[in-house]
Symmetry: C2
Subunit: 369 residues, 2 copies
């Protein structure tokens, strides 16, 4: 029912096909973030039409709202949000990082809902149960994500917890229509990362998330960790969690990453940041005031085929939510096209040249902006 086949490779970069019971996804694959069962401001159909094969959502947030009862009565997450592609659910482990007053013990994580003040105790088993109810195609083991300022002892403790929780998750994983992936922690310590992977590999997973990156560490460290893990993982699925701005994707596809997710392309869109082939810029800038050109003259999305920068800048200035919608659409469309071009370049064994050309152009204008 599940398989991952590498179809082409160009040095470490690789294209592949991930098959799950209801379909296939081409890799490298960027997964738009639908935390609360919605890709902010966009319909599922729009995102599918852009060419995305998979989305990622969050077990903790969906447990809280709408709750498992409603998801179950709605026929599962795909039916609820009318998404026909693959769904990956994250375990909620990252929320210990993002929610204040949250902590962990050896049996799981304790998350405090900032709205209600209610705390929830999530054991690995509980999180598996939640993800089973949500009905995603790929589910993640509960992991312990250390904070950037944690010392080696704490990071080490986190790795041991992550491994122990992965074991417990695997033990209760019985649904054959869901594939369970492990999450590799270990901060920026290569030794710990390697150890974590080896312990997880003993439990045996078909895919591995690289967690706990892009939380403040220098980019060279990210690259070092990702490269080292990719070399260890080999032909199994590599999913770099929470990392996914265009330049980051290009630089880590080169190391062998297959899956990405990142809220940034849509989050920055809502603040007016537009991603273009010539780099990022903010549409609210005075320089866009009278520009009668599309957000990105090289883009063929419906927003770029229809509207001018002058109009979209006006929408942001007038606080018209249509501005956020149009910019979100464009940024996500850009991501879809980027992934397409990346796969094309790898298939043609021309990834190194693509990377060079892309980054030169993408980063040049950004500097001049």
């Amino acid at each position: 029912m599940f398989s991952f086949e590498i179809t082409n490779s160009d040095d470490y970069a690789r294209t592949g096909v991930f098959s799950y019971p209801k379909g296939k996804v081409e890799t490298p694959c960027f997964m738009p973030v639908a935390t609360c069962a919605s890709i902010r401001l966009l319909t599922s159909q729009e995102v599918m039409d852009m060419g995305f094969g998979a989305i990622i959502l969050n077990a903790y947030h969906l447990f809280k709202r709408p709750g498992l009862e409603i998801l179950k009565k709605s026929g599962g997450i795909h039916n609820f949000m009318r998404w026909n592609g693959m769904v990956v659910s994250d375990s909620g482990g990252f929320q210990i990082f993002s929610l204040p007053d949250s902590h962990a013990d050896e049996n799981g994580i304790i998350l405090k809902d900032p709205e209600s003040g209610i705390t929830h105790y999530f054991t690995p088993e509980k999180v598996m149960e939640i993800q089973n109810s949500i009905g995603a195609d790929v589910i993640m083991c509960l992991d312990y994500c250390p904070k950037i300022w944690d010392n080696l002892k704490e990071v080490n403790l986190g790795v041991h917890r992550t491994v122990s929780w992965a074991k417990r998750s695997k033990l209760v994983h019985t649904n054959p229509r869901q594939q369970l992936w492990g999450i590799i922690q270990g901060g920026v310590d290569i030794g710990l990362r390697k150890y974590c992977f080896e312990e997880l590999e003993k439990i045996s997973f078909e895919g591995y998330g690289i967690g706990g990156l892009s939380i403040g560490e220098p980019w060279e460290k990210t690259i070092e960790v990702v490269n080292s893990i990719c070399r260890s993982i080999g032909k199994k699925v590599v999913y770099l969690m929470g990392v996914g701005m265009p330049d980051q994707i290009v630089e880590t596809v080169e190391l062998g990453v297959d899956f990405f997710d990142c809220a940034m392309p849509t989050r920055i869109a809502r603040n007016g940041t537009t991603i273009s082939w010539s780099g990022k810029f903010n549409i609210k800038a005075a320089s866009c005031k009278e520009q009668q050109i599309p957000l990105d003259p090289e883009c063929d999305c419906f927003v770029c085929r229809t509207y001018t920068r002058a109009y979209i800048r006006h929408l942001f200035n007038a606080k018209e939510m249509l501005g956020m919608r149009l910019n979100s659409y464009h940024n996500l469309y850009f991501m879809a096209k980027l992934m397409e071009k990346i796969r094309e370049a790898i298939n043609k064994k021309a990834f190194a040249q693509f990377k060079k050309d892309f980054l030169t152009k993408y980063k040049r204008k950004e500097k001049n902006a």
Copy 2:
């Protein structure tokens, strides 16, 4: 270049075709509100595809933002917002009602921008100039809109100002690609309304807005005023300004109104109120929590063909802006279909029956909700 032809009538209710230089609009016509050159959350194409032939926007708001310079450089309002249908611009007279610290003298209105604190002095001539720059197809004379608590003396003063400003507007109206409509004021005093119309008719306009209604007066008074004015206006265009919830439209189409505009269908949509053929309801209600049916089972819009109430309620609960977008789309689609059915009923000389059936169903469920 401009003409208005009544094609069918059923008692006082009538269908017609309003022709303007670039196209035609079927009446009775509901105009979605695009105050700041955007129909909140929706694209122009979506609104055109629903079947709307005209929108209304606001001279004062566009003067403020994006400003006339940018509109000019963008090739006028149609091109700026990519709207291919008819555009009506309101004069900004109503803003004396909606903006605090605004007032008037015999030469015009003084509006204070609540954001910047800057005051703008709008004479009838200035407003004509602004509307000319915006480039709408139909423009409105500056009018003086009395407040609901104004006494007869003040309402009377408002009528005299409105008439005097209409004269001055007509004098400077030179653009043949714009038709200028007068606005009838006079509160709920039938005599004053009649007087106002007769004075405006001496100046001679091809269309008349009925202004200053739906500002707090009892509905029976609205009906009385509209009926009396419709009888006076006869075969020229009647535009009932700012009134346009479904039941209000049905009840005043019966009196002979041709054009409507109202921000309510989209404004209430953003608060979760859904308009359906069985009446209004709030999608945030607990009763919708698990409902696996469309917003309106009788509606064939893309939202109703795609999503469940349970999902859209969740979006509102999770503060996902997609909820507002989907509900706005549905409500506006409803308005388009309502106008279509109204025109159909008039053409079949079956409006009285349509009205009875519609209101019975629309108001019954509302009471039970």
